[in-house]
Subunit: 359 residues, 2 copies
């Protein structure tokens, strides 16, 4: 038996990031113990503390090193908004978004599902399960804006959303592929009645790709209407494909309606495998609860499972997902789990892991 | 007693628009009967039918006539998406958005509240009441985009969001004024960690205006986080001020969580009174249920009440709002109302109107 080695970069980041990533590592190691695959980790100290100490967010040299890894496990970044030393949004843009753009993370994948027994803010207790395929490298996120006559009554500030056939077609192709292996339905979300140029590109791209996937049915929904369906009947969704900004908004909403953003994982995928993909919880750094060992590590652990899937270790990924689901159901059933620390939750997931099939 | 005359333009529009506007007129007339104010109406046939018949959406001449009215009562526009004769979004842009822009409707006001007894999709039954002050004349709605190398693999489509000190400061000032006469709290919603130029203009504008309103507390929320709060604790909002696109998205979501988009009214206000303001339900033309007398006229009736308020007829406006609230509560209590036609609902609101105080 030859052991496969995977070389993982770990960026714990700010706030609760390091705490939840530690639990993800714990669960990963337990799931792979005695398996024919092994992860080695390199920790990178990046984020607010690093910026305060060095004035650097991400050096070219560091980026080069990150490129050499098989995958990146990411916690969260973002300074405490009360901390006036750190310009708002700086770390998010110059570290997190920079990684997504530099490493060409075309697919920002965000699976959304309810967990039996886990309460949601919705009155309906019907389960749902869908996936948002959010474009990750263009749209309004390109940083392509400007300001004229700043701080005068004549100030003009612009933001340019840039959308390309290259960027849109690859994410749309990915989304159709996922729909094919799921329930066979895709929903394009945009606002093409107002954003006519970008909307038209998205729609034509979906139409062209749909012709190649006759088994997949698809519909179109304006982003405003999509928020209504998200609270009124999320069961109608299977695969949502949408742009960077709409995807950002819809996945926070989806996280909330499915039982809380503390459970929502994500994967930022480089489709061409020309650079490592990155796995991170949808939630932020939550500086208000950092360092107290009260953060929920579920989203980080589920993100780690997405990473294993991406590395081809799908049975270990499935065992982690089952362990999390079973444990969440158990906590919900028994009304325990509320007082548990971050580490105790991680331990509980580990203890729920079923033994691996002999390989 | 001299009777004040107000000259109202009525645009029923498409789908359920004419049906719900008819009920709004019915309730308006009943509320003003024997009062020292009277509305006269001029109906304008605009929308999909008109476009199919004439190829015109809104002639300059018609726009000029509309300018002469005291206010516009608007139903809904938007063609049946199945109807391939009508280019998608054409009527929305060239009629509805054209009116908002040409008539300088800087404030798109969208009050949101639960109605005692009316079910919402949320598990929590706690009431809430807030108002979204959405910018109405700029942002990503300016139609300032383009396409290069259309339908080639090198296609680039852009959308430009244009934000000006002029446009932002007037809506922010309005929002602070409203917060002052409500519960004294304002929330700026944007995405300034990504849309740095526009976000910076919005934030500086709010900071400057806040200095003039020491009684009003304010906070900032990213649009993605705002969707979470909208389902998790909408009670935290009093006045939300935001841009055109974020306001579009948040108010559909707000309509959904407060009991359905069938109850959500809006006002598109020209702050300088240089042109008539416009009053319309947040919902669309719903072509699938048009002409069947099953549409809920509540949002149109509540929009008509906003119109009366705007015209200075606030006691009649309050009587309409009370009638709608009382009737909705009664229907919820008695579980009746479900089978009622659009006109029967309008009649019910009329019958609930309390007699006006002698003026
Ligand atoms: C932190 C921020 C830049 C980021 C985004 O907007 O993409 C976050 O909200 C997310 O969804 O991952
Ligand atoms: C019909 C459409 C152009 C419009 C908008 O996007 O503003 C509608 O959704 C609204 O909210 O009034």
């Amino acid at each position: 038996m030859s052991t496969k080695q995977f070389d993982i970069a770990v960026i714990g980041g700010d706030g609760i990031g390091p705490e939840v990533v530690a639990e993800a590592r714990k669960v990963l190691d337990a799931a792979l113990a005695d398996q024919d695959a092994q992860l080695t980790y390199t920790e990178y100290s990046l984020g607010t503390e690093h910026w305060l100490a060095t004035g650097e967010t991400l050096r070219d040299e560091t980026l080069q090193k990150l490129r050499g890894h098989d995958a990146i496990l990411f916690g969260a970044v973002g300074a405490d908004p009360q901390d006036e030393r750190i310009p708002s949004g700086l770390i998010e843009r110059d570290l997190l978004l920079k990684l997504r753009f530099e490493l060409d993370h075309s697919i920002n994948l965000r699976p959304v599902r309810t967990y039996p027994g886990v309460a949601t803010p919705l009155a309906s207790e019907e389960d749902f399960d869908f996936v948002v395929v959010r474009e990750g490298t263009e749209g309004p996120y390109v940083g392509n804006g400007g300001t004229l006559r700043r701080a005068t009554p004549q100030e003009i500030a612009t933001e340019v959303s840039v959308n390309t056939a290259h960027g849109v077609s690859r994410v749309v192709a990915d989304a159709f592929g996922r729909a094919e292996s799921r329930r066979g339905h895709l929903t394009l979300v945009h606002k093409h009645n107002v954003l006519t140029h970008a909307g038209d590109l998205w729609r034509r791209t979906v139409e062209a790709e749909a012709a190649k996937h006759p088994q997949v049915s698809w519909d179109y929904m304006h982003v405003d209407a999509a928020t209504i369906h998200m609270v009124a009947n999320p069961q109608r969704f299977d695969v949502i494909v949408t742009d960077n900004l709409f995807g950002d908004i819809l996945t926070d909403l989806a996280g909330a309606v499915s039982g809380g953003i503390g459970l929502a994982p994500s994967a930022s995928i480089n489709q061409e495998a020309s650079a490592p993909s990155m796995f991170e919880p949808v939630h932020g750094s939550a500086p208000d609860i950092a360092g107290q060992q009260i953060a929920d590590p579920s989203a980080a652990v589920l993100s780690a499972a997405l990473m294993l899937n991406h590395l081809g270790l799908s049975s270990a990924a499935a065992r982690i997902e089952s362990a999390v689901h079973d444990q969440l159901r158990e906590w919900a059933r028994s009304q325990t789990g509320h007082g548990l620390s971050t580490a105790q939750r991680g331990d509980a997931f580990v203890s729920r892991l079923t033994p691996a099939a002999v390989s």
